[in-house]
């Protein structure tokens, strides 16, 4: 039977949210296709994984438990998936578009000669007619994703190769428990049947938590605050919105000078020039020096309690109101309406 399989990411035995989101999506696709939903967890201390994933409707959970498999390294995880997929022949494989998923997915797809679509924002089942070849394909996975810097949306299919592989970012799909008492089967595999000694050539020497440097220049979405935000505490709202939308926080010179934000976030003539796809200006009046650094943004939203702020003339959307009431609403309604 050609089922759907989800690669489960774990950290100290706890299943990542993105994996649970994909299980929810995988369950609904499996129902549509009339197949089973399988999951594969590779790592160490995986005893509690079943308890966490079965409520999402997993029929079969494959466990590869071995101290050498955690922390994650590319080669043994690749060997396990490649060999497992050769055995069970899934029709669809879903992974999180995380650092692990984006490291592992392409390697597995290359080894199997199957197609992979990164960072899908939507997955649907549908048919495809290849008029040139006179062939009709039933029940393909439509892998829908933005491309070209978000300026187009592409619908990708893999007509002839299996599994159809896709990665999806965290937060794109909705996670939903199907049935807290859902019963699935656990299959424990012998890791040595799947890996080679060479697979452990790459070693993790050390890891630690370290905040990444600010990179507003390449951020597709920027939430920028000005003096009108009022305080460093109110700036936290901007960080909340940036987290939810997957953007970065920028600031005007006045806000930086007032100590609301670090210097490396400054946008404008004396700061960084940015051209994001979405620029949300919060409490920014729009002095020339700031505008010079952001005027090429594709969509500009201005939130300001002054309906006549100069920046409003170049904004696509002008919201007249207080930053501290508008931003929480944006977060709330984004969460409510995004999948």
């Amino acid at each position: 039977m050609n089922n759907i399989i989800v690669y489960i990411e774990t950290d100290e035995g706890a299943v990542a949210d993105v994996s649970l989101e994909l299980l929810t999506k995988g369950r609904s696709l499996a129902d549509q296709l009339g197949c089973k939903l399988e999951a594969v967890a590779i790592g160490n201390h995986l005893g509690e994984v079943g308890k966490q994933v079965f409520p999402y409707g997993v029929d079969v959970l494959h466990i590869f438990n071995d101290a050498r498999l955690s922390p994650y390294t590319t080669l043994p995880h690749t060997s396990i998936l490649v060999n497992l997929f050769k055995q069970i022949k899934p029709q669809i494989c879903l992974m999180g578009a995380t650092i692990i998923g984006r490291d592992l997915g392409p390697r597995v797809s290359s080894s199997l000669g199957s197609g992979l679509t990164a960072d899908c924002t939507s997955l649907e089942i549908g048919d495809h007619e290849d008029r040139k070849a006179g062939k009709t394909y039933k029940n393909l996975l439509y892998q829908i994703r933005p491309a070209f810097g978000g300026n187009i949306v592409a619908w990708i299919i893999n007509p002839d190769h299996r599994p159809q592989m896709a990665t999806v970012r965290e937060g794109v799909m909705k996670k939903e428990v199907l049935d807290p008492l859902y019963k699935g089967e656990i299959v424990e595999h012998d890791v040595n049947d799947y890996v080679n000694a060479d697979d452990f050539a790459v070693a993790v020497i050390e890891r630690h938590i370290e905040k990444s440097k600010v990179n507003i220049k390449n951020a597709p979405i920027i939430i920028a605050g000005g003096y009108g935000v009022g305080s460093k505490e109110n700036f936290d709202l901007l960080y909340d919105l940036a987290d939810v939308l997957g953007g970065e926080v920028g600031a005007s010179r006045a806000a930086v000078d007032a100590g609301f934000a670090e210097h490396e976030r400054q946008i404008g003539q004396t700061g960084v020039t940015v051209r994001p796809k979405l620029y949300i200006a919060c409490g920014i009046s729009g002095q020339i020096q700031h505008v010079a650094g952001m005027q090429d943004s594709s969509i500009i939203i201005s939130i300001n309690n002054d309906a006549n702020a100069p920046i409003n003339t170049m904004a696509d959307y002008v919201i007249t109101g207080e930053v501290e009431t508008v931003i929480p609403k944006m977060i709330k309604y984004y969460k409510k309406n995004s999948k």
């Binding site: 997915g105 924002t121 794109v172 020497i205 959307y317 409510k336």
Partner: protein, 290 residues
């Protein structure tokens, strides 16, 4: 110790530079208006290679790019900043390749180049944002990969120590050579062009470029062999044509939708719950967010 390094680089349309002029009246992208640039993270990759060359004198850097004839610009840009030579992989048969067919083609060229210790490339290109080609080239060559690298710290006893950028931290890994490394945009930025190298390599050209331009100082290409950029097609790298281009691509594009941008007239909202919800629905529907 000296190392042979191959840097994979791509010429891309500058999708970050989509200002108002780059959109047509119907809201679609005017691709002709976008400048072609060196993929930004490939420059971070080049800098990592140059750093190794600084620390391990005698190391060499070969630029490898796949694309149309004008992609030779990428090779020259690499030479101006300190690479030693360049290879352009170009053939109609490569057109329409997805990441897998691209990786296959690049891997055949790497095999043809032959001796290498490190392959370094950017994490992803800004036109596709897939981050797939690096790992897939590594798989095709059957060598290990280290992705999301921020710094290739040292190379000792045939092993490279690399710092990687994770979601909320950093990780240091050690891998035997040969190795493929994909470099993250958070790595240090590439040094600028070097004036002496700019003069030296200004006239570096592929054979097609030399023929097209009818240059009267053609002699320099025999007296200064470093000005000859290598140009290879399918036959030169012994690629299986079935695995190249469209026919070698398991993924197909079923359709493309253009994301339509708003015209410049401002919409005025009061900040009420209803209006903010409508705005978020609109931004999600046109793929600005989400």
């Amino acid at each position: 110790m000296a190392f042979n390094i191959i840097v994979l680089a791509k010429q891309v349309p500058d999708t970050r530079n989509i200002g108002k002029d780059a959109m047509k009246a119907d809201g679609t992208v005017n691709r002709g208006a976008l400048p072609a640039i060196f993929n930004p993270e490939d420059l971070n990759a080049l800098e990592q290679a140059l750093g190794i060359k600084d620390r391990y004198p005698g190391s060499t850097i070969t630029m490898l790019t796949m694309g149309p004839g004008r992609a030779a610009d990428i090779l020259r840009e690499g030479l101006f900043r300190g690479a030693d030579d360049g290879v352009l992989l170009t053939d109609r048969a490569f057109a329409g390749a997805d990441t897998l067919a691209t990786s296959y083609a690049l891997s055949t060229a790497v095999r043809k180049i032959g001796k290498y210790d490190l392959i370094i490339c950017g994490r992803q290109a800004i036109d596709g944002d897939t981050a797939q080609v690096g790992p897939q080239v590594a798989e095709k060559l059957n060598i290990p990969q280290v992705t999301y690298a921020e710094e290739i710290e040292e190379i000792n006893n045939g092993k490279a120590r690399v710092k990687r950028r994770l979601e909320n931290g950093v990780e240091t890994v050690e891998s035997p050579l040969p190795l493929l490394v994909t470099v993250n945009g958070s790595a240090r930025t590439c040094r600028p062009r070097n004036a002496k190298l700019l003069l030296k390599f200004k006239h570096a050209k592929t054979v097609t470029e030399r023929q097209a331009e009818n240059i009267d100082y053609i002699d320099i290409y025999s007296t200064r062999p470093y000005l000859n950029l290598t140009e290879w097609g399918v036959a030169d790298v012994d690629a299986d044509i079935e695995l190249c281009g469209l026919s070698g691509s398991p993924t197909k594009v079923k359709k493309i939708e253009n994301v339509v941008f708003q015209t410049k007239e401002s919409k005025h909202l009061s900040g009420s719950d209803d209006e903010i919800e409508q705005l978020m629905i609109e931004l999600i529907a046109n793929h600005t967010i989400g």
